[in-house]
């Protein structure tokens, strides 16, 4: 019974994937995705202050389609790495990332998340979050201004619209 069910789901998935890969449909799907980015609020370091300011009325990234950070990880599809990732935190970041729903996007925010920043030769940090996660957009700065983060979000939306994001399948 289950075997038949699984086979049916498999066929259905193949059909859906074929339909989604037709160009106009693909465009529509991407268009729907790019204006509903739900970020995870995972504070690893001080860049989170600028991230918080970015969602507040003065800068208001919500008007560009990035919703304020709230809700469950299962609803989220964007993780913004806000600063230094220590080796201990790296394991937790990976865990959070693997709980998010696919498709999921990663923005590395700030010098520490890009290359380690001033802690580049520390004993306890990852030299850039791209050691552990596939990063889509890098936002430089120490810390980046909220406008810079908004620009990063716009760049990510551009990537999604053009279908240039590597969509990782859920684990």
């Amino acid at each position: 019974m289950f075997a038949v069910g699984n086979a049916f789901v498999g066929i259905l998935r193949n059909v859906v994937e074929k339909i989604v890969n037709v160009k106009p449909v693909r465009y529509l799907v991407n268009w729907a995705r790019l204006y509903s980015l739900w970020p995870v609020h995972l504070t690893t370091a001080c860049c989170s202050v600028e991230f918080g300011a970015a969602s507040c009325p003065r800068f208001d990234v919500e008007r560009m389609g990035m919703i304020q950070a709230f809700g469950s990880l299962r609803q989220c599809d964007l993780i913004i790495i806000e600063g230094t990732v220590t080796k201990k935190m790296g394991k937790r970041v990976k865990k959070v990332y693997s709980q998010m729903a696919s498709p999921r996007y990663v923005i590395a925010m700030g010098a520490c998340a890009i290359s380690g920043g001033i802690y580049y030769n520390s004993y306890n940090i990852h030299k850039g979050v791209d050691e552990i996660l596939p990063v889509d957009v890098y936002v430089p700065g120490c810390p980046p201004r909220p406008e810079a983060l908004a620009h990063g979000v716009l760049m990510l939306q551009d990537k999604i619209r053009k279908g240039r994001v590597n969509i990782t399948k859920g684990e």
Partner: protein
């Protein structure tokens, strides 16, 4: 019990000299409201208990380690101040405990000041100084799979680029 106005550092130093004599090494006034003294690890529990009971020094602000590589010793420094009911006293007392570098250990002060619990864990994992009778000596800041016998804040620990 002391109040904010009545901190008399020289009186405290004299009392400590009278009470413990040779067992406290040169208690001295570094600057107003800042007393520094060195204590052997055999006497540290008794003296810490005395400080807490007598002067209401009930709050440990920090526990840090210092690595004297040339003199072949560590020094553990407890910065003790007060959060008593009379208000936050401006007095800060630095309690220094020298520890041997080859077999570094000293008694834990968790039984006297509960707030040193995670401070001592941190000192243990970064310097390798063992605190005897500590209730929970586990890693705090370093990742769980950090190799044994590597202590990053020791002077002879080399970083990758060095």
């Amino acid at each position: 019990m002391l109040t904010l106005q009545k901190v008399n550092e020289t009186k405290i130093i004299d009392e400590l000299r009278d009470k413990f004599g040779e067992r406290i090494d040169t208690p001295k006034l570094l600057r107003p409201n800042r007393i520094v003294m060195t204590v052997e690890k055999e006497n540290v529990i008794e003296i810490a208990q005395f400080l807490k009971d007598t002067y209401a020094l009930n709050y440990v602000a920090s526990v840090s380690g210092i690595d004297y590589l040339e003199e072949n010793k560590f020094v553990v420094v407890y910065h003790v101040s007060s959060m008593s009911e009379d208000g936050h006293l401006p007095l800060v007392l630095a309690l220094k405990v020298p520890v041997d570098r080859q077999t570094p250990f000293m008694p834990s002060l968790v039984s006297i000041w509960k707030s040193v619990e995670w401070h001592e864990r941190e000192t243990w994992e970064l310097f390798g100084i063992e605190f005897k009778d500590h209730p929970r000596l586990e890693r705090l800041l370093l990742p769980e799979d950090w190799p044994e016998n590597q202590f990053p804040l020791r002077k002879d620990f080399l970083l990758e680029d060095e």
